[in-house]
Symmetry: C2
Subunit: 257 residues, 2 copies
Amino acid sequence: MAAAASPPAAALEQLSKTKMFGGHNLRFRHQSAALGCPMTFSLFLPASPASKLPVLYWLSGLTCTDENFIIKSGAQRAAAAHGVALVAPDTSPRGLNVEGEADSWDFGVGAGFYLNATNEKWKNWRMYDYVVKELPKVLSDNFEQLNTSCASIFGHSMGGHGALTIYLKNTDKYKEYDATLLVKKCNTLSTPILVDQGEDDKFLAEQLLAGNFEEACKAAGAPLTLRMQPGYDHSFFFIATFIDDHIAHHAQFLKSG
Amino acid sequence: MAAAASPPAAALEQLSKTKMFGGHNLRFRHQSAALGCPMTFSLFLPASPASKLPVLYWLSGLTCTDENFIIKSGAQRAAAAHGVALVAPDTSPRGLNVEGEADSWDFGVGAGFYLNATNEKWKNWRMYDYVVKELPKVLSDNFEQLNTSCASIFGHSMGGHGALTIYLKNTDKYKEYDATLLVKKCNTLSTPILVDQGEDDKFLAEQLLAGNFEEACKAAGAPLTLRMQPGYDHSFFFIATFIDDHIAHHAQFLKSG
């Protein structure tokens, strides 16, 4: 790690380091200024890069921490092959003891939705700022082997939607993404979007609405590849099956950038 | 599923079915006669086989259930590619409420060691009989797409040792294996053994003793490929990194058998 001259690098506590596919899974804790609490994140670094590594952010779905994707997806294989670093943040602030924060699986703890909350009670829920501003700074301050200006973002479920909204609001920062919803206001997209959707996903009909996203992309002229996958559900088994295609998809833009 | 004429097929309760890499992860519960309690096992079936599928048994390590390997290893990718079914049993009887059965992480529940216990108190701990006799029968009675006479066995940690001992006692039943210990009594092995061992595995020096196994193989003339892997530990990240090599290793013998 290399400390930047000014401002001082955020203090990172390394929680674990495990070798995998020639690289390493690293896990850190740090005090988040945006969220006002300690946060953990996971980072997969491929082995000894010849040049600085581009960064691919993974945003997880409801109830996940930074660990689920690292443990279950098998994404490190393709990340190592393509020479791309994977960054997996947690999905919300934790430990703040806000009343009712853990009452629902889809609101509060484990459910930050990658947005900045406007209700005073939820003032710490600023996952948008955390992912878009604070975390990239933490990375660039601490890891000289990363090129955080060459970044891309993807995710699953709540995180797929989060990746899409973050990309659409920051088309200068992220080269590519894939997700499930909301492209209507955007008519300047030239890079293709890749979305895989399990046909047996129990959330598809009422919540994910991939068809609506497809319509919006058509209306906005955004290039979308929506792959409906027969028999697949919403699980990490589905993610693991198609993760290589998505990493290859992002890698082609990160390499040419 | 096809019921055998006689004796009647063991009743299998399907707990889950999830598509992955074109095949399916299936999970079942059944009443085990050998263990005297309900047992769960996981089965990965590659997509629509042209011929009957050979069976590759995975024996897990201490504290695992039948699910850890299925969730964390990513082995389904290679199993689908090679057309091999994966079977992952649980690691011990459960729910028997034997006094002290859960007092230790390495004895009792989650720690069956794939042997038949001789102490009366632990009379239900007959994982050897369960894995070698009962489970193959359950599979052949219920899955006509499986060729259980074309089988192989491998595993990790307690399960690596279990796979080795089971193979050495049943060289007619299992075509190949990999593991960590005990080959001294055997001098008729012709098929090569593949063992991967992380050099940073915290159990290596005092418990796993890969060097002893290597010596024993040399003395018995057993062909061993022991790969010491620098930087790797005992975790599923280690397993996931090398699982493809092991499935390919077993598949070559299952195909020629």
